[in-house]
Assembly symmetry: C2
Homo-oligomer: 434 residues x 2
């Protein structure tokens, strides 16, 4: 049986998982791939104590791996951007295929990396960079190849989803975040997760693979979950909605929407029922309709599962001496469209509004009339006399779908009313109709 | 740009959808595939009136397509087994690749077809044969290639799932079936759907692709949903379970479980919340854990989506002149394991039991003692005095996981009691723990 030699750079959580699974399931993987995947070298700054390397040659210099003439495929699992970019470009220069789990690297430097890889005729595979063990990029790039993808929406950050799931029992954001940190679900510095940056990296990759557009991470809109309150969560539930932190990409005629923010979704929709640290990506294609891909978005062996799936794909190609390739973003480079990311003002969505108004006659009429002036239709409205506090009463409104520009102008007019002394809280809502 | 020529046999629902999507998304598909998919011939017994064939050469003889020297890939969409087998084998003999949506053909004759295809060095692709538009075979064979698959469970018949979903509102099986027929969700002869044969075809294909074992449809156990009552559905709900018609395959040390039957699943599990005609397949792998794939399991364009995904895969290989292949069942033929399907007595599951017992003292103790004698532990028990009828009272029991043999013996002993005048109703239950 043919052997394909791989070199692993980075022996942290995912690197360790990859070594473990490649060794444990070596026979099974060879039976699927039709060739043996041999770890010819593993490298990290320090020799890890918790990973059983056995006879695998170790180096404390990751750049030795990309120079090792024996190696066919370099696996980049060091994380971060600067050194990873240098490493990946060096591997490509040396004619090596690359498998990476690095979402930031692909989202930010992917266009440059793919161009270099195309010049050198090598594959760069990155299934594990999005949604951990869920083979969602393969589903989009290959399984849905017949479809014009209309939109996709994903729970693609497990930490954020865990926090929002736990907050449904009435607990505050800060309290649940501290618990998530204690459980190891959230980092000591949780910014990347709770501010949506991590999700925006993944969304950027998903959107480009779905629509066939260049990666444009810098234009993604991100809004975190730190301002979500148990109050809004429970009022959304009474309206039949659940608040999820979603990455949403939608194709419009003149551009694409690319945005991460808290979102109300109908409770009866399957994606509303994805709880805890799990991930799910909902994809709408013109032929297939809606499909969803669900599973663990992180973890040593779950992510290793996706790394190794990429390795098997590339190894099949290496062993067959074949030039048969799925293009980097699922479309041949010349078929990519230069569709730009639309400014948020052009984005369509429905809105949940929480308006604290003075409790006096005529206020509701004024609110309704301002919304109507801006062409905004109301789907539901909720106001309870029992919630009056300091002579103000919260008015909860769910609108139909509008352009963000309309809601901005309406909110400006609302906040200018003397009857509305506080800022209006807004959370976007999506219905995902079939 | 290179052209790959395809011939379509069968212009019914899926054939029509395939022609429509291939034409509508021709540019997009070429941009993904890196070659043009040209329909060089389409054939069916009668020229269809509702499909726009345009300039596509038509024949009323499907065998002309497999003899057409121009054609690289034959798409078999005629359904049924006999003629389809003849057609597919003839295509293979003529060196043509085959794409088919025919689950019965693959489940029953797949081993023979794959052997012929291997001899002639051609691909036989059948993503659309399971779960319609959901790319679940690709997920299992490629996306989860790193994993030893432990088990999988799927809602893989939309008709059955629609009926069970509707029965939750208290309506009887017959009534909902008639409605499903009127809506076009169920055939005039619903046997294949409600008896689980259609699901068993799909499960057979899923299991072989997951475990790397030969197709063994004839050994699958199938049990339909015609005996499920609203009473059991509502009592299962009170226990925290929902009844779904599942196809379940599990790997044991000495064989595989392969079974289709009504199953209680925990309501909080995502798969319990897949309603209506939709499909979902839950897969448990040793590295990734649980992943789930959800979407439409039928329909013209949804199924066409999967047919065309296969066409794109094969066309890439044809255009590259490559011998790079994903093996038919995801494993190289020599890596297939001769694991047999286990007899039902060897299968493990939990059980929901409905026991109609005479309403007199000591009966419950007798029931509990018989279960205990057979090593069966009780998870929950439910008995309501308000449900006494004709001096009998229903006792609802949920057991822990046991071997089917144990429950058979216990039920025989229970039914031998004079206190239990009716047959014991049993429905299997699965917990799908993480």
């Amino acid at each position: 049986m043919k052997e394909v030699k791989i070199g692993i750079c980075g022996l942290g959580t995912v690197g360790g998982g990859t070594v473990t699974v490649l060794q444990r399931n070596a026979e099974l993987i060879a039976g699927r791939a039709g060739c043996r995947l041999i770890i010819a070298q593993a490298a990290s700054r320090r020799r890890p104590e918790h990973i059983e390397l056995g006879t695998i040659p170790f180096s404390d210099d990751i750049f030795q791996v990309v120079q090792n003439p024996e190696i066919d495929i370099v696996v980049e699992l060091i994380g971060g951007c600067e050194t990873a970019l240098e490493l990946v470009l060096a591997a490509i220069e040396n004619g090596k295929h690359v498998v990476t789990a690095n979402k930031a690297l692909i989202a930010v430097h992917g266009n440059e990396i793919f161009e270099a890889a195309a010049r050198h005729g090598v594959v760069v595979a990155f299934e594990s960079s999005v949604a951990g063990g869920i083979p969602v990029l393969k589903a989009i790039r290959e399984g849905l190849a017949a479809n014009r993808i209309n939109w996709l929406a994903g729970i693609i950050n497990g930490t954020g989803n865990y926090i929002l799931s736990e907050m449904r029992s009435g607990r505050a954001f800060d309290e649940v975040l501290r618990e998530a940190q204690a459980l190891g679900y959230a980092e000591a510095d949780p910014t990347f997760d709770v501010e949506g940056i991590d999700a925006a990296h993944k969304l950027t990759i998903l959107a480009s693979s779905a629509f066939g557009v260049p990666l444009q991470f810098e234009k993604a809109y991100t809004e975190g979950i730190a301002n979500i309150t148990p109050y809004d969560i429970s009022h959304a539930e009474s309206l039949g909605y659940r608040i999820k932190h979603l990455g949403i990409a939608r194709r419009q005629a003149d551009g694409i929407e690319l945005r991460v923010h808290p979102t109300l979704v109908p409770v009866r929709h399957l994606i509303a029922n994805v709880d805890g640290v799990l991930n799910a990506v909902l994809v709408d294609g013109d032929a297939v309709g809606q499909t969803m891909y669900y599973g663990p978005g992180a973890g040593a062996e779950a992510t290793a599962s996706a790394v190794i799936a990429d390795l098997v794909d590339v190894a099949r190609s290496v062993a067959a001496g074949s030039s048969q390739r799925v293009p980097y973003l699922g479309f041949e480079p010349e078929a990519l469209e230069e569709l730009a990311v639309l400014p948020m003002e052009e984005v369509h969505s429905a809105f949940y509004l929480r308006i604290h108004a003075l409790d006096r006659p005529g206020v509701l009429a004024k609110i309704a009339s301002i919304l109507s002036e801006h062409g905004i239709n109301i789907e539901s409205i909720m106001q309870k006399e029992t919630e009056v506090q300091d002579n103000t009463i919260p008015v909860i409104i769910l609108t139909h779908t509008v352009k963000e520009r309309q809601i901005n102008r309406a909110i400006a007019d609302l906040e200018a009313l003397p009857d509305i002394p506080q800022r209006v809280v807004r959370i976007r809502a999506e219905h995902f109709p079939d």
